[in-house]
Symmetry: C3
Subunit: 330 residues, 3 copies
């Protein structure tokens, strides 16, 4: 009595179906994570643990008689990090309306900063290794201030905002807005523009937030030179500058190797005096991330949507992680 | 590797499938909600917020060799009201057994009051506007006592009851029962009968509950006169009478406009002396809903299962809401 | 706009689909549970309550070019026991890699003890009645120590372990391992071997755990003699021996009747002196399960994946349960 959903571009066309569809997709990834910040004797967590994620995604869509597209996305995602496994609930819903090049998203929005081309790594995990390894590689993540912008939440309710995207030719523009309830209603406004010409793309984005230290500007240039992909990114994170240089290369038909290095400014004494956090791990002054982080990632395509992924990275605070595992999409 | 589920009455027939099925359906709706009860300076919520819901529903069914139908329903539903977004879990399961005109439901039951024809508005949202606007239009919702009957819960566990429905010709009968654990086990018993003749339908239902002020009787008459739909409803909510008059009219091929007005009795002094709540918003005596509420709703069909929905209502406590948005089913 | 997923071995073959699939399956079961441990006047729960479960399962799978299978499983399951209904979230994910006879599972693993053939009853519910009736019939469940081994969790995160299974001919071997975080990291290691020859199967499994009283050895012999199925099982649960004898018989083409009896040793005085729990229900010494439990279960196939299930069991602590209901898979 098993039911099977199948990949069916062909079948849909032949069958002449109604406009309204539900697509089910997702991915699984699992492997081992060596993290020298863990120590069974110190924090109870082995240095090497299972890291895993299973994502199940439902995309609903329909189209009106006049060609306006309506849709929504729902995601359930279970993870294990540091040997702490969990189940999953559906995240906050994202809705969209699209007509020709214009799309409006409502609810659990993408966010203009999050959508900046050339910010995440060119890997299946968008970071180093099998689970991203903390996404130290992003120029928008700095000391004590990680992921402090509106971004689609896979496991939570998200920003509950509104955003407009416009694409034409190689150009994409994106403006996003969200606000919180409460006595000190917090607004976040962000914008992004990117342009693709030939094998190259440039992008600039900025966020203005009512929360301290969240204003930021991100810029990137990326392109391909034959088998080589190169990218330069920079962000001014409310006074903390961070540069990133990224390169990847295809090896044969199934392999890709990627290397990256970032350099991050110190938190200024003036900012610390104004209450800015100058550490990432909870002890004031103990762990300033000023300086150089770097990593290397290797991908091997196994066919059928599956691949082997492995990566090592050293953060500027000397934290080492090494991960290896498999990733498959469905 | 995307999977697509498609609308397939045709394919099912052709393919001659096994009896056991899983159907996936649902809807999305999102829009703006102006509510003058909100005020950023007072309760931290802007007067105008996003209101949204994404519902994903799984219906399982099979049929025995002797023609008895078995099935179950599961629903996951994410909402945002008053700028408070949420994710979703699956609700309590509802099971059914059906044979010819008789159906037995177990678990997260519908409830006989809830199932009364002519109680909810004739709109896609079953209320005014894009999220129902509090369902003031229901004669069974009165001052301080909203939704105090057994009803299918889309986001919770539900009543965990048992009910029997019987339909033959235009007649439908419905009896539901649930009980709670605990020292003061609470039973709710409800019954409903409705009869449809030509374009008209009459319905009467009643609930007897061990919880104070939950006994109620609901009655409705509804019908169509050409393009016009008319309806009269009344409920005696344990002493608080509420009348409702409803009318809707098709305009052209894609539009419908609906208006409604209700009139609610005051809470009697004797009931207040016996501890009955005489307000809806938490301050004793401050907000008695005695009097007239009214609303207007406009629907425009966009095709492909999508529509534009907008509505205004004024409750008897002077609360104004105006909503506009889109609704699409899949 | 309803979508239908259908049973499609045929369609998959014809359509020549991509390797990556999502299968949806599951079951519903509901019925009445008479349990003499409940008493509305004592614990607020009626002696007879609704017992129900709805399980919805997603199985994802793909295959690499070299024939290695990758996959994952996700399950959402809502239950009502003792008139306490609930909704459902997705459980912890289980991942697998398989190649020829070898399978590796990661995350919410099965567990080698759990996977021992001849441990659960030969019923659709794997226990007595419609919800298993506490699974007293398992020789691995003894006084105060139920389900104290690594096992796939349908509603929780599971063991977050790793396991390897190997099958060839009638032989299956299974080794599982999990560990917990925390100052007293708890390891559980278990192994199982089983061998099937003709109509007979033998199995032995053992668990070594860092938690007190969790070491155990389970053994079973099972087979068929015409229409009769017979089974003998034994477990040494860290000093508490428990025997089980099980027999079932087909009656006609649609019915099966099963009977079982178990005999459990007392908790030794030495163990109690060392802090071992000698009761099941929370009162020290009040409810030692030493002695004989027994049960009877009747199954009637209704066709279409549906069946009628009923069972009675008496536990050695004199707890009686009687259940009857329906079960259908999809």
């Amino acid at each position: 009595m098993k039911k099977v959903l199948f990949a069916t571009t062909a079948l849909i066309a032949t069958a002449g179906m109604a406009a309204a569809d539900v697509k089910i997709s997702g991915y699984g990834r699992f492997g081992l994570d060596y993290n020298d910040a863990n120590d069974r004797a110190v924090n109870g967590i082995s240095k090497t643990t299972i890291t895993s994620r299973l994502r199940l995604q439902f995309d609903m869509s329909t189209e009106t008689d006049s060609g306006v597209a309506f849709g929504a996305r729902f995601r359930a995602q279970a993870e294990s990090r540091d040997n702490t496994p969990g189940g999953a609930t559906f995240n906050g819903a994202r809705f969209f309306v699209g007509y020709q090049g214009i799309s409006v998203y409502v609810g659990n929005i993408i966010g203009a900063i999050e959508n900046t081309p050339g910010m995440y790594l060119e890997t299946r995990t968008a970071g180093t290794g099998i689970d991203g390894a903390g996404f130290v590689s992003l120029v928008s993540n700095v000391n004590g201030e990680y992921f402090n912008w509106d971004a689609y939440s896979s496991a939570g309710a998200g920003a509950n905002g509104v955003e407009v995207l416009y694409s034409t030719g190689g150009f994409t523009g994106h403006i996003s807005y969200s606000t919180d309830n409460g006595p000190t209603n917090v607004d976040r406004v962000a914008g992004m523009v990117s342009y693709k010409f030939g094998d190259w793309r440039v992008a600039v984005s900025a966020q203005s937030s009512d929360i301290a230290w969240e204003d930021k500007v991100v810029a990137s240039v990326s392109g391909n030179i034959g088998n080589f992909g190169v990218r330069l990114a920079y962000a001014d994170n409310d006074g903390i500058g961070k540069f990133g240089l990224y390169g990847n290369m295809d090896i044969g038909s199934a392999s890709n190797i990627l290397v990256w290095v970032t350099d991050e400014d110190a938190v200024s004494a003036a900012d610390v005096a104004n209450g800015r956090n100058d550490n990432r791990d909870g002890v004031a002054g103990s762990n300033n991330q000023e300086g150089t982080s770097y990593g290397i990632h290797y991908h091997y395509d196994l066919g059928g949507g599956a691949s082997f992924e492995t990566g090592y990275r050293k953060a500027s605070n000397d934290n080492d992680t090494f991960q290896a595992g498999v990733y498959f999409s469905f």
